[in-house]
Amino acid sequence: MQHKIEHGPAFSWLRVTLERGESIRAEAGAMVMRSTQVEMETHLNAGYKPGIFQLMWAFLVALLRKLFGGETMFLNDFSTQAAQAEVVLAPALAGDILHKRMNAGQKLFVQAGGYLASSGSLNAQLRFGGLRTLFGGEGLVLLECTGEGDLFVNSYGGITPVEVRGSLTVDTGHIVAFDGSLDFKVGSVGGLKSLFLSGEGLVCRFFGQGTVYVQSRNLESLASWISPMLPG
């Protein structure tokens, strides 16, 4: 499998060349175009080779995510039996795409709306304990990505990788993804007063060694800027 990220950073798309028997999995609705030799199959996001229990759990989680996070419940698998065929994928928002080659034992946390595509045995599941943050409005809803393969994450705005040595504080709306090796805690930037007056929402404090991928724009900020300008 070969891939190319083009037209970045404002309007990146992902061009994937599949060879016979290879496949890539993508968020529902992400397809721009594909060769006619590429087959598409739709299924529930239940992880890599799920059992019946995982399927039921996935359905419940997917329903909740659909209700609270507006995420789609389904993934599309693209594969080919031709010698070579192409599929092009793009996220919905203006922004860039991050590629991460994942090895067995590695873990990456991804902001829930950030998943674009993955290959191999990669698993992108709602983080256990993530349900709690689901009800917190602006809280951090995370996907836990584990397994082996290529992972593609989309952002709103440009992506800057920031090395954490010690600690780092990032606005939750600017987080794209971060290494599983980091410890993190969600809170307000100062006291209760600063939560309402500083204009900063919730922040995430990272501790340890690892990389945080930060996006240069915040979707919630855009939404709250536009909202008062809508008629009605």
């Binding site: 798309w13 060769s35 739709t42 389904f74 599309n76 793009a90 919905a92 928002l93 919630e220 009605g232």
Partner: protein
């Protein structure tokens, strides 16, 4: 007539240089600036003879404005700058007869008088799909200015391709198309989030945009307060 494109691909601006007497027709509301010697005429009609009905048809079906502004350079040369509503790139396609260009309604920006425009009815199927697939058919000789949401990828097609309807900008007449479901089954097509797609085949040029305005709108829209009834 000379086209100059700046600030690509995010916020493209097109400046069209007109020789004395030259005329450019542009979508209403696309004007940014112009020299003083340009005469502007706002009209209903897209081309000679099509009249009000023709422009209504284009407006309703083609997704573009009912009005067209005609810019004519009087006395000396001049220039006019045009910009689309959304963030994205622009491209100039040079039409030579007998080639035709089929343009997704909202992607058309401007063309000289030597290029004629017509609306193509895509049949009931496209109407039902909710993808509002109405193409403007451009023919004649001259440049056609197009805009896109996101960056533009020109493709020299020689074969076959499946394309999401929301990513199509324009294609030349040698390319044929068919509206079809995204997967083999109806349920899968619906769940896949792709709905209806285009199967395009043949030989010609295809312009694809890297973002889908509908999807962008939906992504942002669900974070906005509900519209009051």
């Amino acid at each position: 007539m000379k086209f100059e494109l700046q600030y690509r691909p995010s916020h493209a601006l097109a400046t069209v240089h007109l020789a004395p007497g030259e005329t450019l027709r542009a979508e209403a509301s696309s004007l940014v600036s112009m020299t003083r010697n340009l005469q502007v005429q706002t009209s209903f009609r897209g081309r000679a003879g099509s009249g009000i009905l023709g422009s209504l048809k284009r407006g309703f079906l083609g997704g573009e404005s009912f009005f067209t502004n005609t810019f004519t350079a009087v006395g000396q040369g001049g220039h006019v700058s045009l910009a689309p509503k959304l963030c994205g790139d622009m491209v100039v396609h040079e039409l030579t007869p007998p080639e035709e260009l089929f343009i997704q309604g909202s992607s058309y920006v401007a063309a000289p008088d030597s290029v004629a425009l017509d609306t193509e009815w895509q049949g009931m199927k496209s109407f039902l799909s909710g993808e509002s697939l109405f193409f403007l058919r451009a023919y004649g000789a001259g440049p056609v200015l197009l805009n896109a949401f996101g960056a533009i990828q020109p493709i020299d097609l020689d074969g076959e391709l499946i394309l999401d309807t929301g990513h199509l900008v324009a294609f030349t007449g040698g390319i044929q198309y068919e509206i079809t479901k995204a997967s083999r089954g109806w349920i899968d097509s619906f769940l896949s989030g792709e709905g209806f797609v285009l199967r395009v085949w043949g030989r010609g040029k295809l312009y694809v945009q890297t973002r889908n305005p509908q999807e962008y709108g939906r992504s942002l829209g669900k974070r906005l307060p509900a519209r009051q009834a």
